[in-house]
């Protein structure tokens, strides 16, 4: 591998990593000396500076990281604000509704109701601060339990979860049959299957 290719590979690795990376790890992957890696990273840094693009290479605590140039921070911030203010997807609404009406639920419970993998909507709701982890269940695998947050109550103008609109009668009846958290329903088999 010539030094241009090494530089390109370093760029690709730093790009994909996101977080700061220890040059020793980069050296290990490329199977070359750390000194060499640091030297080539120096070239990469210089190349970024000369080219005057939107990116730069920075050192944080002896580690290296690609990031955007300060000049463009305002643009970056406005773009991310636009992205942030997109309304919830239908999937996210459904997951949120299941969490809210059941107060605390595991992901596999949500998936059982919705019939589909829900890791995407769950983590996006956590990121948006609408649901949060409330602990773990004392069950095999110790699954995480999620509940809604105060931010959730504010976004839906509710004082408490008691203020949620009532479910139609039949929904309520059915609901108590499926809820995992009525302790009288130790039907954990189905849950385990979902976890696999």
């Amino acid at each position: 591998m010539n030094s241009n290719n090494v530089m390109a590979s370093l760029e690709a690795m730093l790009f994909a990593a996101g977080d700061p990376v220890d040059p020793a790890k980069l050296a290990e992957v490329l199977d070359i000396d750390v000194e060499n890696v640091i030297k080539i990273l120096g070239h990469l840094e210089a190349m970024y500076d000369e080219r005057g693009g939107g990116l730069r290479l920075i050192r944080v605590d002896g580690k290296y990281q690609l990031c955007t140039r300060e000049e463009y921070s305002d643009d970056v911030r406005s773009l991310l604000e636009i992205k942030k203010n997109t309304p919830l997807s239908q999937a996210a609404f459904e997951v949120l509704a299941i969490v809210a009406y059941n107060k605390t639920v595991t992901r596999s419970f949500i998936e059982q109701i919705r019939g589909v993998d829900c890791s995407g909507p769950v983590s996006s709701l956590v990121q948006k601060g609408l649901i949060e982890e409330k602990g773990r269940l004392d069950l095999p695998g110790r699954p995480l339990v999620y509940g809604t947050t105060d931010r959730f109550l504010r976004c839906f103008s509710l004082n408490s979860l008691e203020d949620l609109p009532d479910l139609p009668e039949e929904e309520k009846k059915d609901d108590s049959q499926t809820s995992l958290f009525e302790d009288d329903n130790p039907d954990n088999d189905t849950e385990k299957k979902e976890d696999e």
């Binding site: 921070s73 009406y101 919705r114 839906f156 479910l167 139609p168």
Partner: protein, 240 residues
């Protein structure tokens, strides 16, 4: 017949096995010699049983279906057999196209070696700041739980999603059939095939009728000879 000793998990299902048999014995997919195919298929399934394979229900279900088609095709009047055969042909062609496309896709997977990055942190916090009504949650819950009582018939659009752009052009046939039935008209089943130019045209029409019957959009009544077809909600309207 030669010894068959491949494993059941080699095949993705009964359709896959049928396609294999059709190509192996150079049968014409557009005019399946049903007797021959049944024998091949049943032989194969029997061998699996002898080897104590746990045969998936789908394989047996298909065997039953093939045997039924064979039985009715032995009757002196075997229009039903022809129809059932066409149905099977349509499904086989569809699955064959699906396999072909899967094969093409499997040759262009370079992009799996492209990596992207997570959004850069520190610019914005992602706390949600929009406001909603509680009713939106209620509706979402009912939608998720799938038990909401539906009082209205599904809109025509919702069928488009099920049957849209099928490998055989069933979607257009759905609208043609629906159009024929507008206004609560009772139409003879065979008349739906008038004007069909090709075999696949007819197969598509047939599948469209099945699809509509399955989703309870139309009703079919009368004898197997030539039943009449009618839209279901139209029927209700008249009765009320």
């Amino acid at each position: 017949m030669e010894q068959i000793n491949y494993k059941i998990d080699v095949f993705e299902g009964p359709m896959d096995l049928l396609l294999h048999l059709i190509s192996k014995h150079k049968l014409n997919i557009n005019d399946i010699p049903i007797v021959e195919l049944v024998n091949q298929y049943v032989d194969y399934v029997r061998q699996l049983q002898e080897q104590d394979f746990d045969i998936a229900g789908e394989f047996l279900e298909m065997a039953a279906r093939l045997i039924y088609i064979k039985t009715v095709s032995l009757l002196p009047k075997h229009e039903e057999a022809e129809i059932l055969k066409k149905e099977l042909t349509g499904e086989l062609i569809e699955y064959r196209d699906c396999k072909l496309m899967a094969e093409k896709l499997s040759h262009q997977t370079d992009g799996f070696n492209r990596f992207v990055r997570p959004a850069q942190e520190g610019f914005v916090n992602y706390d949600y700041e929009l406001f909603h009504e509680g009713d939106e949650l209620l509706n979402a819950y009912i939608s998720a739980a799938g038990r909401g009582k539906r009082r209205l018939p599904p809109p025509l659009d919702s069928f488009k999603v099920i049957v849209a752009k099928k490998f055989v052009a069933v979607a257009s046939k759905v609208s043609t059939v629906m159009h024929r039935l507008l206004g609560g008209k009772k139409v003879k089943f065979l008349s739906l095939f008038e004007g069909a130019k090709t075999k696949s045209d007819m197969v598509a029409t047939f599948l469209a009728v099945l699809e509509l019957a399955k989703t309870k959009k139309i009703s079919i009544e009368g004898t197997m000879e030539n039943p009449s077809v009618q839209m279901i909600d139209e029927v209700k309207d008249i009765e009320q």
